[in-house]
Symmetry: C2
Subunit: 185 residues, 2 copies
DNA sequence: GGCTCATAGGAACGAACGTACACAACGGCC
DNA sequence: GGCCGTTGTGTACGTTCGTTCCTATGAGCC
């Protein structure tokens, strides 16, 4: 009588689709793209397996949706910073802050970035997401830097992110600031 | 009578182990780490499936051997260039040459680099290979650059490689040269 | 020539995967 | 309240995977 019949999420579950996208990002961040299977995501989101193929036609479609959401968030956050900067010097400092605070401070974002890089190298659908990210990032930088410099800075930033993700001793804020100033100062 | 009985590699096959490592690199370059399965590699090398687990205790061990061989080759080639450079300016030009000629000119090396990055992000055994690569690369740069600059240049190079692998319009030699000189010139 | 052991070969196992599909449940409309 | 179409659920199928294991072979030594 006092049984607990509904151990699973409620039957009627609006917003489940959204939640699945978020959970997918969690799984990718914690276990990598290779481990982001239908079953792993379903387990993490506490929904039945069939629910995934109902909401998303294929696993690739789900992964693309997840990466798109992540890229949107990061790109928007970065552009806000660039928009808020009154001049070039402030923009560079904001970039340092973005790198040392937002990105390098969050292993999750770092891992997601690298996972996206690699997944995009093989999957054309994901490559579009990556290229969108790169072009948005460059556009944000061009608010305060000329096109050529923006491109160089973008490449340096990419390298810094990668180094931080894979190296044991990441660069600190001072070194990053000095490199950026030498490149764009 | 004129049949072709032995379609497979000879029964006695010294050097097969070496050949397997090379074939593994080929498969990774052509189809990615995710597709580098025992069966795919065995097919590509034209050896029976069991041969792989005989020579290598596990798939990870084989992948590590393959990436190690690749990193050794690239790092040695790069250090040769740095050793040959008489001064700092020549070293920078050699670096430009290394990037535009060796690396960016060869999609294979580019792809292998990115695949290694991503595989290393998850597998500790492969991370050791990546870190060895990074430290060797930095040491080669330090033949002509101070430690701090070498580190910055290394990060920029990493970013350039990644951009080239994923972007549709890679930077050309002039832009790379200009960025390097601004950072290290 | 016979023995021995490292190497070669192929079949098999259990697990995990993406996806398909038939059925259950329920909100919205009459 | 009863119908209907959307949404949710659980099972099953076929494939592929890493790995194991048993057998066959032949080169090197006596």
């Amino acid at each position: 009588m006092t049984s607990v019949p509904a151990r699973r999420a409620r039957r009627h579950d609006p917003g489940r689709r959204d939640r699945l996208v978020d959970t997918t990002l969690d799984v990718i961040a914690e276990q990598g793209v290779a481990a982001a299977t239908h079953r792993a995501i379903a387990r993490a989101a506490d929904v039945p397996l069939g629910s995934l193929t109902y909401h998303f036609g294929s696993l690739t479609e789900l992964l693309a949706a997840a990466f798109t959401r992540h890229v949107d968030a990061v790109a928007e956050r970065f552009d806000e910073r660039m928009r808020a900067a009154p001049d070039r010097a402030a923009a560079l400092e904001a970039l340092v802050e973005h790198l040392t605070g937002d990105l390098l401070g969050s292993p999750r974002d770092l891992v997601l970035a690298v996972e996206l890089y690699v997944a995009a190298a093989r999957d054309p659908a994901l490559r579009a997401v990556t290229q969108d990210w790169m072009s948005r990032s460059r556009r944000s930088l061009e608010r305060h830097l000329d096109r050529v410099t923006a491109r160089e800075v973008d490449a340096l930033v990419e390298g810094l992110v990668l180094h931080s993700a894979l190296s044991t001793d990441p660069m600190d804020a001072d070194r990053i600031r000095s490199a950026l100033h030498r490149l764009a100062g």
